[in-house]
């Protein structure tokens, strides 16, 4: 593509010269590193438009790019499991999961319609439990939102997440067993006795289907006594259902852990560490309805918040400052121990970077943050985005990295 202007215009363009004062090297360098204020950039461009010598210097400072560096994809967390790094094993895991689900569905339908109904009701009751979350858990979750996260809490979150998954599976199994037992108690006196016993044992905890192991054992015994012939099928259904719920819970936990605001957020440990029934309820709640679980993880279908006209800055100690119109700047917690050196925002998309190539991105004006894989480990010193997708990041030493797809891949220049 070529562009043409009249030769006369070209001549007049070339004539617009005068003066002999050039900008200093620090300003030209700051221009190349995107470190000028808008006013200064405008002034410098005005000079460059009329000074071939300075344009030549700037051209020398922005040499042609080298070979494009490989795009850096955000690392998937499930790939952290060494066994799942092999494609064959990943497919095997998927196949096994599908097989279990199909088997569960096939076994579940013809065997017992009543049980099917009772099992189908289980998630609903779990959801209602989750919705009616105890005030203590809510309070802890709320406090967690205001408390800065730390690495210890992250570990606790992982442990507690596993506990909550186990707890969810146990709860489900216990509920199913008791439901199955209740459907048979009307036919068997022994079953009624054992069910009563189970209810009495469960009564002190205030829950009909407590998460404790002894209650589950008791309910299992009742089921064994009342319907020994149906046991294998029921057991398989229970196991499949428990597996499904555990998988859902794990998915929710993974989803929560993929959002840095939630990863480093003590909300997850706060919920998971709450022992007893409330912990079970919160964990099940997060598995069935992530959006209800005290803001641990935003629901995947939730639309990002509308961009607000906010200004961003970095405090002297490297904290991110957000200032709404007419308000004082407020510190925004992104991740523990991270000190920022540069921030840029455009239409609600905020990018903040700091030492060691740490880069965070928020697409909802700083409400939630995602850590972005960045190809350099050098300190990020300047960030500039011209649109939601196109931006440039400068690191210490002058290297620049450009993205044209909103940070999914980066192209480096020396």
């Amino acid at each position: 593509v070529t562009f043409e202007i009249s030769k006369f215009v070209r001549g007049r363009l070339a004539q617009g010269q005068g003066g002999d004062e050039h900008p200093g090297a620090d300003l030209l360098n700051a221009f190349c590193e995107d470190a000028l204020r808008p006013v200064e950039r405008e002034q410098l461009l005005a000079h460059l438009a009329a000074c071939a010598q300075c344009r030549e210097v700037v051209a020398l400072l922005t040499p042609a790019e080298g070979p494009p560096r490989p795009a850096v994809q955000p690392q998937r967390r499930w790939l952290n499991f060494p066994a799942l790094r092999f494609p064959a094993l990943r497919w095997a895991a998927v196949t096994a999961a599908v097989t279990v689900v199909i088997a569960a569905v096939l076994l579940y339908r013809p065997e017992a319609p009543e049980r099917a109904r009772s099992v189908a009701h289980a998630p609903a009751s779990a959801t209602s439990e989750a919705t009616a979350k105890p005030p203590a858990a809510e309070k802890r979750a709320g406090a967690a939102q205001l408390t800065p996260p730390d690495t210890e809490s992250k570990k606790r979150a992982e442990v507690a997440s596993a506990q909550s998954r186990r707890q969810a599976a146990l709860d489900t199994a216990a509920r199913e067993t008791a439901s199955a037992a209740s459907s048979y108690t009307s036919q068997s006196p022994a079953g009624r006795t054992m069910a009563k016993l189970g209810t009495e044992r469960a009564a002190p905890s205030g829950r009909a289907f407590g998460p404790h192991a002894d209650m589950q054992q008791q309910a299992n015994q009742a089921a064994q006594i009342t319907a020994p012939s149906a046991l294998p099928a029921i057991g398989a259904v229970r196991k499949a259902q428990a597996d499904r719920e555990a998988a859902q819970s794990a998915t929710a936990a993974t989803r929560a852990s993929q959002i840095p605001g939630a990863v480093n957020h003590p909300a997850a440990p706060a919920v998971a560490l709450a022992s007893g029934p409330s912990a079970g309820a919160a964990a099940v709640g997060s598995s069935t309805s992530p959006g209800v679980s005290g803001g641990i993880a935003a629901p995947p279908s939730a639309e990002p918040a509308k961009p607000v006209a906010v200004s961003w800055n970095i405090s002297p100690d490297g904290q991110l400052l957000r200032q709404l119109p007419g308000e004082k700047p407020q510190t925004v917690r992104v991740a523990d121990g991270v000190r920022f050196r540069a921030v840029a925002s455009i239409r609600g998309e905020v990018w903040a970077g700091g030492p060691g190539g740490v880069l965070f991105h928020s697409s909802d004006s700083g409400t939630t943050w995602t850590e972005v894989a960045f190809p350099s480990t050098q300190d990020i010193t300047a960030i500039s985005f011209r649109s939601r997708r196109e931006g440039t990041i400068t690191v210490a030493g002058g290297d620049r990295y450009a993205t044209h797809d909103g940070g999914q891949s980066w192209l480096g220049t020396k």
Binding site: V1, F3, E4, I5, S6, K7, F8, V9, R10, G11, R12, L13, A14, Q15, G16, Q17, G18, G19, D20, E21, H22, P23, G24, A25, D26, L27, L28, N29, A30, C32, E33, A35, E42, Q43, L45, A46, H47, A49, A50, A52, Q53, R55, E56, V57, V58, A59, L60, L61, T62, P63, A64, N313, P316, T381, E390, G397, G398, A402, H404, T413
Partner: protein, 303 residues
């Protein structure tokens, strides 16, 4: 502002190079006074936070002759300096010469009173120290290149089978006197970035990719801008000419006149050997010896 100065002083590690907190505060104040005269405290604080204080402290300590600072500077930048100079000059010999010359200026060739005048005093911490050094090398290289370009020997010309015959006299057609002011006004009405793009593309012959890199945008953005600019500029000039009494056809014809027919030495104009307009933001005046003179090239003898 005192806590901020303290924090920046701590962050800069200036104490390791023997700089007192008071001295460092004074340096920061000088930098702010240079670039932000009369700014509000909040603006100044934001400005301070964007400075490369570690590298600023290193540069100023080197300027003061601190041995440890020089040691650190040489360890970090010596190899890079030669590498950068070689990359700019595309020639190892010239690159070494450039780097050595810069070293001498950084150390301080001249004295003012009893103190050496080091080029480090111009570094303000606004960009990286490495980038600043690269810019100095590039400026030096461009200065040398332009000086050498003017000093083409007669033998060289003869070797290239070029003659110094006077160009044949041509009749000088007269352009519409209203065209020049209309064009100048249309150009002046453009944004600085637009004028920069026009100059880089039409005068320097830069490619779209090169301009895009200079402005940190995508190549297609420059392409779209150029397309829009050329059309807008033409329409603007025609409109101005029509405003001065020409009809559209006459305005178009006046615009299409070949500048060579006007006896305007376009090549010399395009070369833009003269310097740009004064840049008032900077107090630092780079030596423009040899470049402040108007074009000396015998453009008529160029092929």
């Amino acid at each position: 502002m005192a806590p901020l100065f303290r924090e920046l002083y701590r962050k800069s590690a200036a104490a390791e190079y023997g700089l007192e907190e008071g001295d460092f505060t004074r340096i920061l104040a000088e930098v702010a006074a240079k670039y932000l005269p009369g700014a509000s405290p909040a603006e100044v604080a934001t400005f301070y936070m964007g400075l490369r204080v570690e590298e600023l402290a290193l540069a100023r300590a080197c300027m003061a002759g601190n041995e440890k600072a020089w040691e650190v500077f040489l360890t970090r930048y010596r190899a890079k300096l030669y590498e950068m100079a070689g990359a700019i000059a595309q020639d190892d010999g010239v690159g070494h010469e450039l780097a050595d010359s810069l070293y001498a200026e950084l150390y301080g060739l001249h004295t003012r009173g009893d103190r050496r005048v080091s080029k480090f005093s111009y570094y303000s911490g606004r960009g990286s120290l490495e980038g600043w050094l690269r810019t100095l090398l590039a400026q030096d290289y461009v200065d040398r290149y332009r000086r050498q370009k003017r000093l083409v020997s007669l033998e060289e010309k003869e070797e290239q089978h070029q003659s110094f015959a006077a160009p044949p006299a041509q009749p000088a057609p007269v352009a519409d006197p209203r065209l020049a002011p209309a064009t100048d006004a249309a150009l002046a009405a453009l944004a600085a970035e637009d004028r920069f793009i026009l100059a880089a593309y039409f005068l320097d012959g830069r490619t779209l990719a090169e301009i895009a890199r200079m402005l940190k945008v995508h190549e297609s953005t420059i392409s779209r801008k150029l397309d829009r600019l050329t059309h807008r500029l033409r329409e603007s000039i025609i409109k101005r000419l029509m405003g001065q009494g020409l009809d559209r056809r006459a305005a178009q014809e006046a615009l299409e006149i070949d500048v060579r027919d006007l006896a305007v030495d376009v090549r010399s104009r395009l070369a833009q050997e003269s310097a740009g307009p004064p840049f008032h933001s900077s107090k630092e005046k780079r030596s423009t010896a040899g470049t402040s003179n108007k074009e000396q090239t015998k453009s008529g003898s160029d092929p």
